[in-house]
């Protein structure tokens, strides 16, 4: 056991390895602890002792404490020892830390006191209290915060007693400790004492942030009795205190505080009122809605803007008339915010009111209401159809947009009609966008695609046909695929162009046969290549059964006429190493133009799938690499000028094969460690193959395939 652990530790440390998870995964804590203690007692290097401390954080007990305590005065290892001492549950660790405070000084003492604080060691209270007047301000400050973590009444009393006479730097830490104590008392139900401490701190001459923390605590701990204090903050001339009010208002529990915000609004400046309104809206469960609504109706523009925005969070149907009025005002910003709020205002009652107003509406509010129907997706087909016949273009445009957002499958023909036979030519573009918006949300994409396909056939306008094709591409599904495929294979160049582009980005794998067919049948070579690349995209990117992907690659290889596409096929094979793809790579080795790449891919796959040496020999016998003599002359692993000689390890792994299979997939693991942690490394091998010298360089962890030297 000991031997094993030491071996792991020394191996890791000696080469400056990152400590891997496996280094720590020991289960027999007692035996492990004994080994680790022995290491600390030995003259091992500091690096080894550091790692032992880390392990003792898991495996250590009271037995380890004495050796760890000896490291506390050690500038290099003190922090490592405290990692273990903070984690060991036994009270012996507390005692050791307390003892150390008697002899340590400076930062080491500060660290030890910090650890006492983390362990909340109440027995250290008096010891820490004595340190509050240490001449080293860092020591005194650490003691103050540690007392705060202990959080007892005794700790608080010591802190409060030291506050007045401390230096400003230490005062801040004492105040921090006091606030921590107050918080603990509040949690423990000792609210009166907590408030007493908070009040003392907030009323003292202390750094602003300490006062802010105490004021927040003083307000919240008081519950409803803290409301007047909160309201006072809203009228504070101090920006920081006003900001504290905004944050504390959001936190304040209960519902009694909400009505009070109206008074704060009335007594403040416009810029502050806007901020108070936003805070009010964040209290969604108990918000005082009438106050926000009133602020939206009249007053300074900036306040109204904040109120209208707040209504988007907390408003309801009662806000609709006001928001509609504001939506028609001259102020662009206010109008836009009101419209955005209207789109979000929750509730079916809001929808009912909008529909009720729609049929009687005229003038500027009419298109506004129609847009709201669309934005809120209110079913109101009859009203929208009526609007579609309106003389005013803005009304018709709004109706088209709303139909696009709301129409059901039965009504899709309405939009199709607007696209292929527009009554007003100027409406076509909006109608096309509306048709697309409607189509992509249809519950049955095939039914939708069938209707669009009919429309495509019925139209004799090329721009319309293109628009419909693009809509079909967005809809997807088998029917859309069929129609787009036909367009791509049509005799019209523009349709071929759009169709092949859409197929090339199709989101389902059933486009593959269509693309393959197009890659062979298209009249233009440009579209053939585009289609084949689209086909390869599916083979490369989509989740497919192994056999299916290999079959696709095989077909692509047969269909490809250019070297570029053939090489893309090989890249796909290498990306998915499995038996079918290995077989196909071996077939590709028979192509003289692909032999080198295919052989490399086959070797890579063979290695990844765990082929035996015999398998590889059999594989190589199919190439002219089958019979080789390989000698490794040298091997260097590293980055830049930092190289490590790994010749012996590579020689050991090499055989009379062009593929060198290391003992582990990771170069770092196989080649004795990481020579340059955190940096991408390379392995460079000089070798002799069948008497000819060659050199090859491999990116970290790449398969090592040595080519025949030229």
């Amino acid at each position: 056991m000991r031997h094993t652990i030491f071996k792991i530790l020394f191996l890791a440390m000696a080469v400056g390895l990152p400590f891997s998870s496996a280094t720590f995964a020991q289960n027999d804590s007692a035996a492990t602890e004994a080994d680790l203690i022995a290491l600390l007692q030995s003259d091992a290097a500091p690096a080894d002792k550091a790692l032992a401390c880390k392990n003792l954080a898991i495996h250590g007990s009271a037995n380890a404490v004495p050796e760890l305590a000896k490291l506390l005065p050690n500038e290099q290892l003190s922090s490592w020892a405290r990692i273990a001492l903070e984690a060991i549950p036994d009270s012996a660790a507390d005692a050791a830390l307390r003892d150390a405070t008697q002899s340590l000084q400076g930062k080491l003492l500060v660290g030890t006191i910090n650890s006492i604080g983390v362990r909340e060691d109440a027995e250290a209270t008096d010891l820490l209290a004595a340190k509050l007047i240490d001449e080293d301000a860092e020591v005194a400050s650490a003691a103050a915060v540690a007392l705060g973590h202990i959080g007892s009444e005794a700790a608080a009393d010591h802190l409060r007693g030291a506050l007045a006479d401390a230096s400003p730097l230490v005062q801040s830490a004492i105040a921090e400790g006091c606030v921590l104590c107050a918080e603990q008392m509040w949690i423990d139900g000792n609210t009166d004492k907590a408030i007493e401490i908070y009040d003392e701190i907030r009323e003292s001459e202390l750094p602003k942030q300490r006062v802010i923390e105490a004021t927040r605590g003083a307000i919240l701990a008081r519950g409803d009795e803290g409301i007047p204090m909160l309201m006072d903050l809203f009228s504070s001339s101090d920006k920081h205190m006003f900001n504290l009010a905004l944050g504390t208002a959001r936190e304040f529990p209960g519902t009694n505080v909400d009505k009070e915000f109206a008074k704060a609004l009335a007594d403040t400046t416009p810029d502050r009122a806007g901020l108070i309104l936003l805070a009010m809206a964040d209290r969604s469960d108990s918000v005082d809605l009438p106050t926000i609504l009133a602020a939206a109706k009249e007053g300074p523009a900036s306040v109204r803007l904040a109120a209208v925005r707040a209504l988007g969070q907390v408003g309801d149907a009662s806000c609709l008339p006001t928001l509609l009025e504001i939506s028609l005002e001259q102020d662009n910003e206010l109008r836009a915010q009101a419209q955005a709020t209207l789109a979000e205002l929750p509730g079916d009652a809001v929808n009912a009111q909008i529909v009720a107003q729609l049929d009687q509406a005229s003038g500027t509010i009419y298109p506004l209401l129609i847009d709201l129907v669309g934005q809120r997706r209110i079913p109101a087909k009859d009203s929208l159809m009526k609007a579609l016949a309106h003389n005013d273009a803005p009304v018709r445009a709004a109706a088209l947009r709303a139909l696009g957002e709301t129409i059901d499958p039965d009504g899709l023909e309405v939009l199709i009609g607007q696209v292929i036979e527009p009554r007003h030519p100027g409406d076509v573009e909006i109608a096309q966008r509306a048709l697309k918006a409607a189509s992509i949300r249809m519950p049955d994409p095939n039914l939708c695609a069938a209707k669009l396909s009919e429309a495509l056939t019925a139209s004799d306008s090329l721009p319309t046909q293109i628009a419909i094709l693009q809509t079909l591409g967005a809809v997807g599904g088998p029917k859309a695929l069929e129609t787009v495929g036909k367009a791509a294979g049509s005799s019209q160049d523009e349709l071929q162009d759009v169709g092949s582009r859409l197929l090339g980005t199709w989101m389902t794998a059933d486009a593959a046969p269509v693309l393959l067919d197009l890659s062979q049948q298209a009249e233009s070579n440009k579209y053939k290549v585009r289609a084949l690349r689209g086909y390869l995209r599916i083979a490369r990117q989509f989740v497919l059964p192994e056999g299916e992907r290999a079959a696709m690659c095989e077909k692509a290889l047969a269909a490809a006429t250019r070297q570029q596409e053939k090489e893309l096929v090989l890249q796909i094979l290498a990306r998915y190493p499995n038996a079918p793809n290995l077989k196909l790579a071996m077939v590709a080795m028979g192509d003289p133009n692909l032999k080198d790449q295919a052989t490399e891919v086959a070797m890579t796959i063979a290695q990844k799938v765990g082929a035996s040496e015999a398998d590889l020999q059999a594989l190589l016998s199919q190439s002219d690499l089958g019979q080789i003599e390989l000698e490794i002359l040298s091997a260097q692993y590293g980055a830049g000028s930092q190289q490590k000689d790994v010749t012996a390890l590579v020689q050991k792994a090499a055989n009379d094969l062009p593929l060198v299979i290391l003992s582990a997939p990771s170069y770092n693991d196989a080649l004795g460690g990481d020579p340059v942690p955190g940096t991408q490394k390379q392995l460079t091998i000089r070798y002799k193959m069948n008497g000819q010298e060659g050199e090859a360089t491999f990116t970290e962890n790449a398969p090592i395939f040595l080519k025949k030297p030229n």
Partner: protein, 430 residues
């Protein structure tokens, strides 16, 4: 050991619940509170700007800083970095933006925090410092936007939430996907029951190996002005200087015995899963990884599954939520796939790919002004991080662990409980 200290007097999550769009409105990038609603008109006067300082502004921080500098109501005034090179680079960037020479430089962030004119800080150090620097900032009265992962263990997560509550500060963790429309919509579908009873939520951890940085061969300590190694180590246990640690990325990622693992990406995608389950307490049961999956369970039986493969190609950081009536999957391409178009219910969802942080930064700045609760608030971050830390502990111990989210401890599991926290190097404390 870990315990919540600060009383939760009011459920602040309700603020955010209420803002979920319940009607047919389109899902767009978060609306920004107009300046005029805050009493501002036209250009923002200096007195109304949020004065910001930056701590540890490396690669990611530079991107975040760019998002801050885009905002008219931000005045960036100071940078702190332990590397002189970074201090100078950021000063040049900021001064170039403002055409001034006023961006102050600091090596010790406490000096920056002592400035009373600074309202908020951007903390984009390595993860080693995120929680500790945030705690110091909160206690110094600053609001903060802190990069993720923000905590190194369970205890830090709890203390962070308590400290932010106690100090009354505004905290936003850099989980910017909470402010992107398609992720927000996907989470809303799950949260509001539109998918039916939620069965499983999936997160992509992008790596499940726990590790920590080592003790590398000592090298000559650089000049403190150039690289302040002691400050760089900060709360991490001592080790000798070695420049390989300085990339910041691999140094104490996630922390001590257990760290890294699912945390790096989990702090994004588990965070989204947590949003999908309405930011409820973290799962209570975590199985060891098996076949590339680590399964955990919430108290109500919903599973949170860390899964490496099997994703629809929608870009990095994918999440998937499955209910009894439907599912949704979304990723960083800005796109999502739904089990049925009916789930859209006619609504349109803006596709914003590339996970920009602009909206998240804006959300933070608005909350600095209104004192509202940002989307990536400390309590939400606390729960998501605890889920990741607990999963890492199951990964590390290679066995099931059970977590009691009320007591904040593992049940009858001394080993797991000892992994909840880790001592900070002197003189740092939380």
């Amino acid at each position: 050991m870990p315990k919540p200290t600060s009383p939760r007097v009011h459920d602040r999550r309700k603020f955010l619940k209420k803002t979920a769009a319940a009607t047919g409105a389109a899902i767009v990038a978060p609306t920004i509170i107009p300046g005029s609603a805050l009493g501002l008109n036209g250009t923002v006067p200096p007195s109304e700007r949020v004065i910001v300082g930056g701590i540890g502004i490396g690669n990611r921080g530079t991107y975040d800083l760019g998002c801050f500098l885009q905002q008219d109501d931000v005045q960036f005034v100071a940078v702190c970095d332990i590397k002189k090179q970074r201090r100078l680079a950021i000063k040049k960037m900021v001064d170039g933006q403002y055409q001034t020479d006023k961006c102050e430089m600091y090596r010790d962030f406490r000096e920056l925090l002592d400035r009373s004119d600074i309202d908020a800080v951007l903390i984009a150090t390595g993860p080693n410092w995120h929680a500790t620097a945030s705690m110091y900032a909160a206690k110094a009265g600053k609001d903060m936007y802190t990069e993720k992962p923000v905590t190194k263990n369970i205890e830090q997560s709890l203390i962070l939430a308590d400290t932010i509550r106690r100090t009354g500060r505004v905290f936003q963790v850099g989980t910017q996907r909470r402010n992107l429309p398609h992720f927000a919509f996907a989470c809303e579908l799950a949260r509001t029951g539109r998918l039916g009873k939620l069965k499983r939520v999936y997160a992509h951890p992008a790596g499940m190996q726990a590790m920590m940085s080592g003790w590398l061969t000592p090298e000559d300590l650089p000049n403190k002005e150039d690289v302040d190694w002691d400050m760089y180590l900060g709360p991490a246990a001592w080790r000798p200087f070695n420049k390989k640690h300085l990339d910041g990325f691999n140094f104490e990622k996630g922390g001590g015995l257990v760290g890294g693992g699912v945390l790096e990406w989990g702090s994004h995608c588990v965070d989204l899963c947590q949003w999908a389950v309405d930011d409820c307490p973290p799962p209570v049961e975590y199985d060891p990884p098996k076949d590339g999956q680590l399964v955990s369970r919430y108290e109500n039986g919903t599973e949170l599954i860390f899964r490496e493969t099997g994703w629809i190609p929608l870009g990095s950081c994918p999440v998937r939520f499955e209910g009894e009536d439907g599912w949704v999957e979304a990723g960083d391409s800005g796109k999502m796939v739904l089990s049925s178009p009916e789930l859209l219910a006619g609504r349109t969802v803006d596709e914003i790919g590339g996970y920009p942080a602009t909206f998240h930064v804006r959300d933070f700045l608005d909350c600095v002004k209104t004192r509202g609760l940002p989307k990536g608030n400390a309590e939400a971050a606390c729960n998501a991080h605890i889920a990741c830390h607990a999963a890492n502990i199951a990964l590390h111990l290679n066995r099931q662990v059970k977590y009691d989210h009320r007591k904040h401890e593992f049940i009858d599991d001394a080993q797991a409980n000892r992994l909840r926290s880790e001592a900070l190097r002197e003189p740092w404390r939380l």
